[in-house]
Amino acid sequence: MTPGSAVTRPAQRSRNLRTSRWLLVRLGGAVFVMWAVATLTFFAIRLIPGDPAEAVLGGPGSQASQETLDQVRADYGLDLPLGVQYLNALGRLLSGDLGTSYALKVPVAELLLAQIGGTLVLALAALALAWLLALLLSLWSTGGGRIAAALGQGIELTSAALPHFWLATVLIAVFSSALGWLPPVSTGGAAGLVLPTLTLAIPLAGFLAQVMRETLLDTLDAPFIISARARGESERGIRLRHALRHASLPAISLSGWALGYLISGAVVVETIFARPGLGRTLLQAVTLRDVPIVTGVVLLVALVYILMTIITDAASRLADPRLRSAETGR
């Protein structure tokens, strides 16, 4: 807690330098990832069969006349060579323009803005619930003896392996059809959020709990825990105040990945529970070969993913001085 500002000035400057270099590398990486994602998406959707012009004409199987097709291809620049189309698309993206949906004929940015809220609410609710479940499960399984440990491990493995579509169907069958407690489809209110959140949270909780339990067990054998025990702290205090904080670190850095995982899980969950959101938008757009929407959603998800990674990295750097000093060696 000593300020010592006069002494540490050069050190401060070099730390700032390191931080800004870290940030620059991160941002450069982010730009590269965004470019790679845009490029891959653009070409991947052209590699699968299907004509994007038909997305404009109300879906595949169109019997539109040559005139109509020509008109559409000219309107959307689909008559140009693929390379030119790619450069055009890239140029538009660089100027911040995500383009206009082929099928829905509205600006993609407007569409994404309208849909991202629903997906973020769902993903964040699921992340919070997954954390809560994982914490409870790992505390119980590490502190409840051999049977709890074995059972906990089984629960973690099983729930981490549950596919979303199966879990969703079972939850609907139990809580909507049989018990009638919760609506099976979104109603706009909080009740409609429960089943989709559970569907996304349960597998993730299993995964997070696995990571937490392992680090928790390692930490409980660490010397500082032994000394805490020697000081006479209660077992509960040790777990909550000391061990859990350490055990959470890897799980925190996993949360960036988890959010990406949740947003991709939203494709299935939003469809089953009829919730508006990015996942459903993406599914419909892929089916129709609506290139601008697919690119837009994928870029947006990539952006969220990158931002979360940067934030969790920064948080880890703040929380763990070893990460910052490690870079001095390079």
Partner: protein
């Protein structure tokens, strides 16, 4: 030319007939028993669609079934069709045709206005047809339906004259379809983006709001005056509003119906229909789509199905009926016709489709497929008797996919190898456009038997500019072509039906198709929903006469 005497084809006579027909229509209705109770006005009906959410609510643009489902609530056509298959008045009260069958005059109802206040007149009809034919509208289905219409002229305020390039016996059937419904010219003039959001029609409901991927709100048109001739009442609808939701998952859609969150669901699956029929709280509306039956097409354009003996062997080898019985729980009836059972001109021949593995084996032996390889499949000149069967997961429900697997299994006994590949819609059309298939099931909805010309005339083998072609069995038979062309131009109804019967005989006896059942179209409704029915045009539901009881 226009001084020709114009025989009154339909009109007042059909209005009178409509009363009698409503008895038949009752057979299509979902509410048995309680027809004596008095309708109550008010309330909001919640409809849950399992079809894709339309990308544009204006059915002129593109033109698919999801658009037709909702457009029927706010747009109306010049004519409709009753349960008998007779064309009846709707926005047009009567019509007449010139002796050369090239000029049709439609007289419109008086005093009908679109919900934006624009009057419905002959000029509006002209604007609509021109809109459909304009490439900028990007119409596919409606454009095809009006293929022979050259121009429309407003003869007077209420008479619109259609001039054709060739006689079209299917014109009235085509005009009854929702893809050529009449919209407000002022609405069209707003441009595609705005018109796609909320098209303006003369229908009993008005599009109020479209929240993408969630719902469309429809409110009652209080000034409504133009029900089709087979409606049960006059004036405005009983329902105050309809909330139209999109619930793509079959299980959650049914659960929402059971829980009372929604009143009506479409795309009900065989297992949920069976379960609903055991309850007291749900009713089932079975409304097969018109046009073609659901059938497996045998691609006779390439080997091995270019040999009629191999086609017959395949049809004799497979067992379809047991599969339908076990997978559809009685909700689908086996068809032996190229046409839907709602088409009065449909012709069936059950005797051609008896399962007979011995006969199949004999046919294959005689066709030179005499050897079998280690896996039990037949071989000729070193090539296996192998059939590619691309299946669209968008168009074939899980029960149908299972049926195809059973067909695959039973075909094996006779030595056929069937390779099923499950594809999304775009990929599926891609495979078809490349002619990489031997078997395919492709539904086709259209009002009237003219669908046969689209599906089986050799012109249909030539791909459209998009690569799509409708004649997937690739039947190329000059005699059949002659019958179908003649039928499309003949004006006498009996002679037309006779030509279509001959055409269907050729298709069936040539073993070009394996009919399965009607194009399935099932709705489940809560018992509080009274007097809901499907329009006998393309079997989309109409809620004009519908009311909600109790609560």
């Amino acid at each position: 030319m226009h001084s020709n005497p114009r025989p009154r084809v339909r009109g007042l006579a059909s209005v009178a007939a409509a009363a009698g027909i409503s008895l038949l229509v009752a057979g299509c209705q979902a509410t048995p028993g309680e027809t004596s109770s008095t309708p109550v006005a008010g309330g909001t009906l919640t409809y849950a669609s399992g079809d894709a959410e339309p990308t544009c609510l204006e059915p002129h643009v593109g033109g698919n079934y999801p658009q037709a489902l909702i457009a029927g609530q706010f747009l109306e056509s010049l004519v409709s069709r009753d349960a008998d298959g007779t064309i009846i008045p709707w926005l047009a009260t009567e019509w007449s045709v010139s002796e050369d069958n090239l000029s049709w005059d439609f007289t419109l109802k008086d005093d009908v206005t679109f919900t934006d206040g624009t009057p419905l007149n002959a000029e509006a009809v002209k604007v609509n047809v021109e809109h459909l034919k304009d490439p900028a509208t990007e119409s596919s289905t409606g454009y095809l339906a009006l293929g022979k219409v050259e121009s429309v002229e407003a003869v007077s305020e209420t008479v619109a004259r259609f001039t054709l390039s060739a006689p079209d016996s299917a014109l009235l059937e085509s005009l009854s379809q929702p893809w050529v419904a009449i919209q407000s010219p002022a609405g069209i003039a707003r441009g595609m983006e705005e018109n796609c959001q909320a098209p303006i029609g003369t229908g009993p409901f008005i599009v109020d709001e479209w929240v993408k991927q969630d719902h469309i709100s429809l409110v009652r048109n209080d000034d409504y005056t133009s029900p089709p001739a087979d409606a049960k009442h006059d004036g405005k609808a009983y329902l105050e509003a309809i909330e139209w939701r999109f619930l793509p998952d079959s299980a959650s859609r049914y659960a929402a119906l059971q829980g009372g969150q929604v009143d009506v669901i479409d795309n009900a699956q065989p297992d949920t229909i069976a379960s609903a029929e055991k309850t007291e709280t749900l009713t089932h509306l079975d409304a097969p789509r018109p046009g073609a039956s659901n059938r497996i097409e045998l691609n006779s354009g390439t080997a091995p199905f270019n040999d009629v003996a191999v086609r017959e062997a395949f049809i004799r080898a497979v067992d379809v009926n047991d599969g339908i019985e076990s997978l559809y729980f009685g909700s689908a009836e086996r068809s032996y016709s190229p046409l839907s059972s709602v088409e009065a001109t449909g012709y069936s021949d059950e005797s051609l489709f008896d399962t007979d593995v011995d006969a199949a084996n004999a046919l294959l032996d005689s066709a030179g497929w005499t050897e079998r390889d280690a896996d039990g499949y037949r071989v000729k000149d070193g090539a296996r008797l192998s059939l590619d069967f691309p299946v669209s997961t968008n168009q074939s429900i899980p029960a149908e996919q299972s049926l195809f697997e059973q067909i695959q299994a039973t075909a094996k006994d006779a030595g056929f190898e069937v390779n099923i590949s499950l594809l999304d819609l775009s990929s599926w059309y891609g495979v078809l456009a490349e002619n990489n298939y031997d078997l395919v099931s492709a539904p086709y909805t259209k009002v009237g038997p003219d669908v046969l010309r689209i599906l089986y005339h050799s012109d249909g083998i030539t791909p459209a500019p998009s690569g799509y072609f409708a004649n997937l069995s690739q039947v190329n038979n000059p005699e059949l072509d002659g019958l179908l062309t003649a039928a499309s131009e003949i004006s006498d109804a009996d002679a037309r039906a006779d030509l279509y019967e001959q055409a269907q005989q050729i298709i069936l006896e040539g073993f070009h198709i394996l009919p399965l059942y009607d194009q399935q179209n099932h709705f489940l409704l809560g018992t509080q929903v009274k007097d809901a029915r499907a329009l006998p045009t393309v079997s989309t539901p109409t809620f004009y006469d519908t009311w909600l009881s109790g609560n």
